[in-house]
């Protein structure tokens, strides 16, 4: 609850901060301070729940898991603010508002990690989505940004409609919105409930950009200001996944009914992996490559949804952390460059060795090379799927796709290290930025060598 309230308050504070603080630099500091307070408030709640969980008004259940996930989301956002916070100023005039919107998204994410009622699920998804529509269109100087916003809004509201439809059908079948009391699938399958679940699966697949509901992703990610793409593709996506996992693992685990949606979602996973990876191979722009790679990575995270065991929960936590941190890092470096294509990275190792080394570590993590956080993230979701038993075909497909993903991730390394060029940066690379990058890379490696640090908390 603390996290939910404090993020919402922080959002309001940021909106007013824009009125009183003229210096844009200071606004960034206020946002960072607010985020730190939010993180502390979130962790402070840990002592009050004592291993169990606390339900508030039958709507929100605060548990160990939700607090941990919030902490990871806030941590990733903190890294994001520190690495890319200064890029907010370049998007437009209303810097404080952008920070406020990010806080509102975080508020939605905390709701997604703790809802215990279908209505709250709906609210969580909406609170996550609506600020994103605004952020996507925040760069008013290019029509591409407005196009992205409009596209995202139309498609997004359509999928929200489907989500609501699904919730209605489930309510019709079960007579309650409370997730724990739904009790679906243990007896005969109610066709109404099954339809509802399928609609829910589709709507959430849209939100996490799983194929074949991914068509908005490249355009929106490409058109939005890069600094917001970085946030949408990482923390927000992880937040949507938590909602996905919590509803499906929390309410639809009955043996009769889970077989149905598992089959459906494993097909979605297969399609996501194939489309995401194969399309990413052909991209010339790193930004677009990251958009498709986010689809491909969503394929891996879907493994955590379809396999219902402890590895899946551990896996999604690790995956959310590993993927978010690494992607935020790559985006932060990309934003510093003038040219977003692979050629724009040519020769970066000579001119900016620190940027090159850290970027190399980030893409290695995304590719799942051992000793980076990405390896154990992949390891856990794959273990979850193998444990599930009947998904071995999907696992083999996934590892082959991971090999393909090495192809496009390593193109960045090839450009930086093995090609000649004079990459132009937009601005002077400050020492502080480099220090932050090194710290972020150190986190990636630390989690890769000792994943136990994070697992101990679960």
């Amino acid at each position: 609850m603390n996290a939910l309230i404090s993020t919402a308050l922080a959002g309001v504070v940021m909106m007013f901060a824009g009125l009183f603080i003229r210096n844009k630099q200071h606004i960034k500091f206020v946002a960072i301070a607010a985020l730190l307070i939010v993180s502390v408030a979130n962790l402070a709640e840990l002592s009050t729940i004592e291993g169990g969980s606390r339900t508030v008004l039958g709507m929100v259940t605060v548990s160990h898991f939700s607090i941990l996930f919030n902490a990871i989301a806030f941590g990733a956002t903190l890294i994001y603010f520190l690495l890319s916070g200064s890029a907010f100023e370049k998007v437009g005039e209303h810097v404080a508002d952008y920070f406020a919107l990010v806080f509102f998204i975080l508020s939605g994410i905390t709701l997604a990690s703790s809802f215990s009622n279908l209505l709250m699920l709906f609210l969580a998804i909406e609170i996550i989505s609506i600020p994103q529509y605004i952020l996507a269109g925040s760069n008013k100087r290019t029509p591409k940004s407005s196009e992205a916003s409009l596209k995202y809004f139309l498609m997004g509201s359509f999928s929200t409609g489907i989500l609501l439809m699904g919730i209605t059908l489930i309510y019709g079948a079960a007579g309650t919105f409370n997730i724990e009391e739904l009790g679906l699938g243990n007896g005969d399958i109610n066709p109404l409930a099954l339809c509802g679940i399928i609609l829910l699966a589709f709507a959430l697949s849209f939100k996490v950009s799983a194929a074949p509901f991914h068509f908005w992703t490249p355009d929106v990610y490409d058109g939005s200001p890069t600094v917001f793409t970085s946030f949408m593709a990482t923390v927000v996506k992880a937040g949507s996944f938590i909602a996905f996992i919590r509803i499906f693992h929390g309410a639809f685990t009955g043996t009769n009914i889970s077989a149905h949606w598992q089959l459906l979602l494993s097909l979605v996973t297969a399609a996501t992996l194939l489309i995401g990876n194969f399309t990413a191979v052909f991209q010339q722009s790193v930004k677009r490559m990251l958009a498709y790679s986010s689809i491909a990575q969503a394929g891996f995270m879907l493994f955590a949804v379809i396999s219902m065991n402890k590895y899946a929960t551990q896996g999604i936590i690790l995956y959310a952390a590993a993927y978010s941190v690494a992607t935020i890092g790559v985006f932060a470096v990309t934003m510093k460059l003038k040219d977003y294509t692979f050629d724009g990275f040519n020769g970066l190792a000579r001119t900016q060795p620190v940027l090159a080394v850290t970027t190399a570590i980030f893409v290695c993590s995304l590719a799942g090379i051992p000793l980076t956080a990405g390896f154990f993230a992949k390891y856990f979701v794959l273990t979850a799927a193998v444990q599930q038993g009947n998904l071995l075909w999907l696992v083999v497909l996934a590892v082959l796709c991971a090999a393909i993903s090495a192809y496009y991730y390593f193109r960045v390394i090839i450009a930086m290290y093995f090609k000649q060029g004079e990459p132009a940066t937009k601005e002077e690379i400050t020492g502080g930025f480099k220090v932050m990058l090194v710290i972020t890379a150190a986190i990636v490696i630390l989690l890769g060598v000792f994943p136990g640090l994070l697992l101990n908390l679960i």
């Binding site: 090379i369 193998v386 192809y407």
Partner: protein, 478 residues
């Protein structure tokens, strides 16, 4: 403790090397490799007296049952010795070369050494996998940064190929891990034999493909000639002398004992693939005019024989493979040193442009002849004993397999002697008449190799004793 030291010395030295300038990297690399060799020899003595002291287990990821567990058995000991000797020889040979960005070059070389020792000493499946991948990364950078013209696509292919293979192995590891009652990655748990024959039969392929790509066995070999050709020669030495041994090592350490029924079921298929590889690679080697490609194909043929002998899996064949792991490494590194020497002096790889070197550089000629004869397994050279044992083992398994594989010896003689003739005999041309003879460091490195070749050829018993514990172990579980 010594085992950890073997990993730590190159690792730490490699990381320090990145920060050094001038001749620092070269000196440190040499010092680190001498230190590694010294520790290896110390470990060898300890292995004689108290082998259990080489084992070390520390907590790593308790939640997964993965431990940092390293140790050395006879085979691991031997391969560590090979690694230590090879890296020292490589650093001696390239001592008078000046690489661009020498700090990165030597740093990456040392890191790859750390990765290789890690692979050979890991006794925890997850740790093995981590080292297996890690050994690849520095080599990828080495080939891509200092290689030939087509290095980038070629190394990339090599990387993606091996990466795909190892990911399949990872799926296999996870599957086995989940079948184990105590959910552990330890070697003891993996070899406890709880897997049903049906599981083993398909798990075999997940592991075999990963190892076969690394070795490489036909039809997974296509990355290899290109990579050997395009890599800088010191890296090719690491690749062909030591890294391909990872594949064979993997089969002996992790495939046969973990999936005995699987290996038994598919042994004929594996042997047939290996033998096709021998004949196929030998035939291609005969028509090669590129010096480096010829040796690359010759390596595929030799590895093919070793792979066939592993799956024949009787005591003799395994003993042959184990001793050949070492000897093939020494011989092929010797050949690459000669290639490096000739290429550095004359800047050509095409054998048709060479010839008559014997007149101008007799020492090069003498060494090339001796190493080539070892490569065709002439008696009294180190190649003989291993090949003899392998053929004898293969003969016991199936006469026809042995007969076909035996053609490989004849073909090897054809291409190797042909190479010797083209490179050092015949008429000298304007280019080859400028060849200067060996410098001191090259002479030293090649002398060491020739001494090993002859010593191992005349008296291989110490090495056979060293690996006998491994042969017994594998035969027991099989």
């Amino acid at each position: 403790m010594l085992t950890v030291l073997l990993i730590l010395i190159p690792l730490v030295a490699g990381l320090i090397t990145f920060g050094l300038k001038g001749s620092g990297p070269k000196a440190l690399a040499l010092i680190a490799s001498i230190a590694s060799l010294a520790v290896t020899v110390a470990a060898l003595f300890q292995f004689r007296t108290a082998p259990e002291a080489l084992q070390l287990t520390a907590s790593w990821i308790p939640q997964l049952g993965a431990q940092f567990s390293v140790g050395l058995d006879g085979m691991g000991m031997m391969l560590c010795l090979l690694t230590a000797i090879s890296f020292l020889l490589i650093f001696i040979v390239i001592n008078n070369r000046n690489y661009e960005r020498a700090n990165s070059f030597y740093g990456l070389m040392l890191l790859s050494q750390a990765g290789l020792i890690g692979v050979f000493s890991a006794y925890d499946a997850l740790l093995f996998y981590v080292f297996w991948e890690l050994a690849l990364i520095p080599v990828y950078f080495l080939c891509s940064l200092w290689g030939g013209e087509k290095r980038i696509p070629v190394t990339f292919k090599f990387f993606v190929y091996t990466f795909a293979g190892s990911l399949l192995m990872l799926v296999g590891l996870i599957y086995i891990y989940l079948q184990l009652p105590d959910k552990s990655f330890s070697y003891a748990a993996f070899t406890s034999g709880v897997l049903s024959p049906k599981d083993q039969s398909w798990l075999f392929w997940l592991f075999f493909v990963a190892f076969a790509i690394k070795m490489p066995v036909f039809p997974f070999h296509t990355w290899q000639p290109d990579t050997y050709e395009q890599s800088p020669t010191p890296v090719t030495m690491v690749l062909s002398g030591i890294m391909v041994k990872m594949g064979l090592f993997g089969v002996i350490r992790w495939l046969l004992p973990v999936l005995p029924s699987g290996a038994y079921m598919w042994s004929e298929v594996a042997i047939v693939l290996s033998i096709i590889g021998i004949i196929y690679a030998s035939c291609i080697a005969i028509v090669q005019s590129d010096f480096k490609r010829l040796i690359a194909y010759s390596s595929i043929a030799h590895i093919g024989l070793m792979s066939a002998a592993i799956f024949a899996n009787n005591e003799q064949s395994l003993q042959g493979v184990l001793i050949q792991l070492f000897n093939h490494g020494i011989n092929i590194i010797g050949l690459w040193i000669i290639v490096e020497i000739i290429q550095q002096r004359l800047k050509v790889k095409n054998m048709n442009e060479l010839g008559g070197i014997a007149t101008y550089a007799p020492n090069i000629a003498i060494f090339l002849v001796i190493i080539s004869l070892a490569n065709v397994a002439l008696p009294l050279t180190n190649g003989f004993i291993g090949e003899f044992l392998m053929f004898s083992g293969l003969f016991q398994y199936n006469v026809w397999f042995m007969a076909v594989a035996g053609l490989g010896i004849i073909l090897a003689a054809v291409y190797t002697l042909n190479m010797v003739q083209k490179v050092i005999f015949g008429e000298a041309n304007t280019l080859t008449s400028t060849t200067t003879d060996l410098t001191g460091n090259e002479l030293l490195a090649l002398s060491v190799i020739v001494v090993i070749i002859i010593a191992m050829g005349v008296y291989p018993k110490p090495m056979l004793d060293l690996v006998s514990s491994t042969t017994e172990l594998v035969n027991k579980v099989y």
